[in-house]
Amino acid sequence: MTPILQVDVADPTPPYEQLRRQFVDLIGSGALPAGERLPPLRQLAADLGLAVGTVARTYRELEAAGLVRSRRGGGTRVTASPARPAGERARALHDLAVGYARQARLLGADRDAALDALRRAWPAEG
């Protein structure tokens, strides 16, 4: 399954930060293993309708964090795949679930409605 990136241009979080977080998650989860090549700057910028500089900033931040390495002519590749231990992954999932439940309750949704929304949002297999 090809990993997917999403950018919400109406979100107050800058697009480069939205992208950075998603890449960090993808690398941390192992969805992007060590050696995997990231899309070329121009291609990803065109795909998302962003300026090339925006994507370049994301890649710079990832490089500064030691997650990727850019090489002239070789593109940008994942350097390390700091796979999270099982316990840490479970904790991260729990934190995300708590955040989602809080937001859903603020919207006035009950437990069933929140779970239904989650099921509908879950990507289909295959």
């Binding site: 399954m1 090809t2 999403q6 950018v7 990231l38 899309p39 121009r42 291609q43 065109a46 998302l48």
Partner: protein, 288 residues
């Protein structure tokens, strides 16, 4: 003359159709994207036929015939560029992209593209040599004849593909090369479309289809003038009564290569004409 040219291209297209086979299959694009690409490619094709027809009638000295095929290719390429530019609109406010690296080699018909590039280099080299060697004809038109001087007499043969022909041809072919590069860049670089459910669609079949049309248009752009220039050059070289041996060798080499260029011309004509004739039977698949 114009009818003969069009008939020749048509015969080549039909003759090669059986050899070339089916246009690329694979992941198809949503119907709206396919329709947009097909319409613009067809518009380029129709415009190209009209432009070639006008060009053929425009000049009695053969320059129109020479640039007719490149003009046709140019219009087809313009159709591809426009279609690729208009096919996909990014949704707002949430935009989606796959973590993937797209390369031109994923979409380009490799051998045909290499053959078209070789034909392009051959045309450029041949035109450079014939331009340098050209001289004025009996009416003083620069670059339209090949002068020679034997022991007892001198003379000139024409028509010769000197600057009189090579300059307008280079302009059109050069513009075509730029447009082809632009088209291929769009084919690779344009965003993936999104289906009604909001999922990314892997539209590789449409990209391969466009790349095939670009290769075919590029083939027409260079091979038809290359064949014309090769035959004219060989004919003028062999008409010299006191030619050195290497002129005979060069003329023979040019004539020997013509069947290869004809085969490439046939493939190119088929690629351009049939790209949108046979729809792909592929299914739409989600990137998710």
């Amino acid at each position: 003359m114009a009818a003969g040219l069009l008939l020749g291209v048509l015969v080549l297209a039909l003759g090669g159709a059986a050899v070339v086979g089916r246009p690329p299959a694979g992941d198809a694009a949503p119907e709206a994207v396919r329709r947009t690409l097909r319409r613009w490619r067809s518009a380029g094709l129709v415009l190209g036929v009209a432009a070639a027809g006008i060009a053929v009638e425009a000049d009695d000295l053969g320059r129109g015939v020479l640039v007719a095929a490149p003009l046709f290719g140019l219009c087809v390429l313009a159709g591809v560029v426009t279609g690729e530019a208009r096919a996909v609109r990014l949704p707002d406010p949430v935009r989606t992209a796959a973590v993937e690296t797209r390369h031109l080699r994923h979409f380009l018909p490799g051998r045909a593209a290499a053959a078209v590039a070789a034909a392009g280099f051959a045309l450029a080299a041949l035109l450079a040599l014939t331009t340098v060697a050209g001289s004025a004809d009996d009416l003083g038109r620069a670059g339209r004849a090949l002068s020679y001087a034997c022991a007892d007499f001198a003379g000139r043969n024409g028509p010769w593909p000197g600057s009189f022909y090579s300059l307008p041809l280079s302009l059109v072919v050069g513009a075509g090369a730029v447009l082809a590069a632009l088209a291929l860049r769009r084919v690779v670089g344009r965003p993936r479309p999104v289906d009604d459910a909001g999922d990314l669609v892997r539209d590789d079949a449409e990209r391969r289809r466009s790349a095939r049309a670009v290769t075919g248009a590029g083939g027409l752009l260079v091979t038809l003038p290359l064949i014309g220039v090769s035959l004219t050059t060989a004919s003028a070289l062999l008409a010299n009564p006191c030619r050195p041996l290497w002129w005979t060798v060069a003329a023979s080499l040019l004539l020997l290569l013509v069947p290869g260029w004809l085969a490439l011309l046939a493939w190119s004509a088929v690629a351009v004409v049939t790209t949108d004739v046979r729809p792909s039977r592929a299914t739409v698949t989600s990137a998710r």
